[in-house]
């Protein structure tokens, strides 16, 4: 029953992806990639750790922003999870998590400028929305029986903390740790818009073609991610949180005038701002303005975004199924697994932007580099999660080996889980298509980025709201499909 539902869903998604491939903008057009590729390859084998001036500082800031952003997100998310049955809380959390952290950063840059607050909020707000959703699901899935055994007369709070939370705790902890890894990636990427994290130097080095510096920065970042479980211990977390604010660098004055201006001028649509009185003419001009942006940018942006997302989603899934055995002890020995882990850390931690640029050199501009970059990154994330899950499945001692084990014993058992992860990843891929403007693919994110580059925050906010609703729609669809084919979810969602 469940299998056939999952099977049909998979087929349907593959079908949609094939149709998208037919209409997608894909071509191969490069002529001389080898000079640039040669320089990149040379950079990879000659990492130069000394070239980056403030390497230690950048690293410390990356960690500090991640910790504080995620921590604040945990607080907000946990509180919201408890109130998740209220519609407005659910809607707000869906809305804030539908906006990519880079866009949050660009918005806060307008309000707070390049201050630590910008970086922390850019992580904390979308993460808060994600935590709210996932925590509430984890709590919902906790064993309900102990709650029934709590004596009559105990306060709801006591009952929650004794009979509900402990069962969910392990999942909450493991999910939070997973999210911290994502937070480190987000924190690094925030450097792309100017915050002083690793991404700042990475982007500089990369855009200048200093590939030895790029590879040094990336190696450092991989080590940071790969060693996460070694240095993040529950006992040390308070210490890190206490230390983090001291690494953020100087705060700047936060000006109330700038905040007010953002809300009362910047994001007020241009026709309204330009009008002297708010009459019908102004409202008409506003409607016209929205219609213009919607038909000339948003509609095309939505189409390109969805086509790219659907192809990248299926490709991510296919790669994840290939990747997950690489880190499972059911399939590889210690040495093989170490290589597998290394490969997955590299693939999932290299910013998609850099992967896309690499493939752009090979294949020229089209959706192709974007699809491959997104699929590699997300395939590695899902592969990593499934691979860890596989090792926990009890197998009979006389189970087959190799491909037979994969096809008959493992894949059928993890397939539901795999689909659940993939569906969680759906909206993430949708958000990530935003940052691939360099490829000349006109996704929604491209138009948002253009509006921000033109310092037209009114347009940017309008387009961001459209993006957010697209995300919410995909999220709702993914939830409906998961419910329909009854995919069980587990602690670690992506």
């Amino acid at each position: 029953m469940e299998r056939s539902g999952a099977f049909k869903t998979s087929l349907a998604f593959i079908g949609v992806a094939i149709v998208c491939l037919l209409i997608a903008d894909i071509e191969i057009s490069t002529l001389d990639p080898w000079r640039e590729m040669g320089r990149m390859a040379l950079g990879v084998v000659t990492p130069n750790f000394l070239a980056v001036g403030q390497l230690g500082e950048a690293l410390a800031k990356t960690v500090a922003f991640a910790f504080l952003g995620v921590a604040l997100g945990v607080v907000v998310g946990f509180a919201s999870a408890l109130l998740f049955h209220f519609g407005p809380v659910r809607w707000l959390s869906a809305f804030v998590r539908a906006i990519h952290e880079l866009f949050w950063a660009l918005i806060f840059l307008q309000i707070f400028g390049l201050t630590p607050l910008t970086g922390i909020l850019a992580i904390a707000i979308p993460y808060g929305g994600i935590f709210a959703k996932v925590y509430s699901e984890i709590l919902e899935e906790a064993d309900p029986r102990p709650l029934a055994a709590v004596p009559h007369g105990a306060s709801p709070a006591a009952a929650f903390f004794y009979a509900r939370l402990p069962d969910a705790w392990v999942h909450i902890k493991s999910y939070t740790l997973y999210r911290l890894e994502c937070g480190l990636r987000s924190s690094a990427i925030l450097g792309f818009v100017g915050l002083p994290t690793l991404g700042f130097y990475l982007e500089s080095a990369f855009r200048q073609g200093h590939y030895s510096e790029v590879s040094a920065l990336l190696i450092l970042f991989y080590v940071l991610i790969a060693s996460l479980r070694l240095w993040v211990k529950a006992r040390l977390v308070p210490l890190y949180l206490l230390a983090a604010p001291f690494f953020l660098g100087p705060g700047a004055e936060i000006s109330l005038a700038n905040i007010t201006r953002f809300f009362t001028q910047d994001i007020v649509p241009h026709p309204i701002r330009a009008a002297e009185t708010l009459d019908f003419a102004a409202l008409g001009a506003w409607a016209d303005w929205m219609w213009q942006i919607f038909t000339t940018q948003a509609l095309w942006g939505i189409a390109a975004t969805l086509i790219l997302t659907q192809i990248a989603l299926v490709a991510s899934g296919a790669l994840a199924l290939v990747f997950f055995p690489l880190i499972s002890r059911r399939f590889f020995g210690r040495f093989g697994r170490t290589l597998g882990h290394g490969f997955l850390v590299v693939t999932r931690s290299t910013p998609e932007y850099i992967l896309a640029y690499l493939f752009l050199q090979f294949w020229g501009p089209s959706m192709l580099p974007a699809i491959v970059a997104l699929a590699l990154h997300n395939g590695a994330v899902i592969g990593h999660l499934i691979g860890r899950h596989v090792d926990e499945i009890p197998l009979r001692p006389d189970a087959p080996k190799g491909l037979n084990l994969y096809a008959y014993e493992v894949l059928p058992r993890v397939y539901g889980q795999f689909l659940a992860f993939l569906f969680y990843r759906w909206e993430v891929i949708l958000r990530e298509t935003a940052i691939l403007g360099i490829l000349g693919i006109l996704t929604l994110g491209f138009y948002v980025d253009s509006a921000i580059a033109d310092i037209r925050m009114d347009r940017a906010v309008f387009l961001i709201i459209i993006t957010a609703f697209l995300n919410i729609g995909v999220d709702a669809l993914s939830r409906a499909i998961r419910a329909k084919i009854r995919l069980t979810t587990t602690p670690e969602r992506t």
Binding site: P146, P151, A157, A158, F161, Y162, A163, P166
Partner: protein
């Protein structure tokens, strides 16, 4: 204290109990016997609804929190007696005072050495005894138990039932072990096919008198 008048109940859309009339007075010790599926658990829950604030319940499933220690699982029985903040502090770090209160209960149930073991690591019998401990620790005067000794050996079962009887005035236990039922209660109610087929004092009953409940 418990009164049912022509009560009926269904479970998952199937009528499990019909026309049950029953009175249980304070101080009685009642055994509910009958085949599985006869409606014992449903009847027990029906009775529990009548006096939630006075009665402790041992559900058939131990309903423990696997990640919490035996101590905390038993302490859950006393949540209603303390302020929430105190409960919270005790969750983060067990208070010595509470540990010393829980300890005798566990000693009695033969679980003292497991006091700080997570419930998830216990054997089936130990889990059941922990659930009994949680009910005992509630300190109610009425106890409703659904097969409270089904997973422990006869020797321990006697100790557990003795403890239950000593701690409560009124006891209603669903049981499948007829010998134990006769030894530890003073009234037997036999259920068959959703209605009461037998309701007698224990004294004078022989195990074979109950055979009719288990045959078609």
């Amino acid at each position: 204290m418990f009164d049912l008048d022509k009560a009926s109940a269904s479970y998952n859309g199937r009528v499990v109990l019909r026309d049950i009339s029953l009175t249980v007075r304070p101080g009685e010790r009642v055994a509910l016997v009958g085949e599985s599926g006869a409606g014992k658990s449903t009847l027990l829950n029906l009775l529990y609804q009548q006096h939630q604030a006075r009665a402790a319940l041992i559900p058939q499933d131990p309903a423990l929190v696997w990640t919490l220690s035996v101590f905390h699982n038993v302490y859950i029985g006393s949540l209603h007696r303390h302020k929430s903040l105190y409960n919270l502090l005790n969750l983060v770090r067990p208070r010595a005072r509470e540990v010393e209160r829980v300890r005798p209960v566990l000693r009695r149930l033969g679980l003292e050495d497991k006091i700080f073991t997570p419930a998830g690591e216990l054997s089936g019998g130990q889990r059941q005894r922990t659930a009994v401990g949680r009910a005992l620790y509630q300190g109610r005067d009425v106890l409703l138990g659904d097969e409270p000794v089904s997973a422990v050996d006869v020797h321990q079962a006697r100790a557990v039932l003795t403890a239950i009887n000593e701690a409560h005035d009124t006891v209603i236990l669903a049981m499948h072990d007829v010998d134990l039922a006769l030894a530890f209660t003073d009234r037997v109610i036999g259920l068959k096919g959703g209605h009461i087929a037998l309701d007698q004092p224990t004294s004078g009953l022989k195990p074979s008198d109950l055979d009719s409940l288990y045959t078609n």
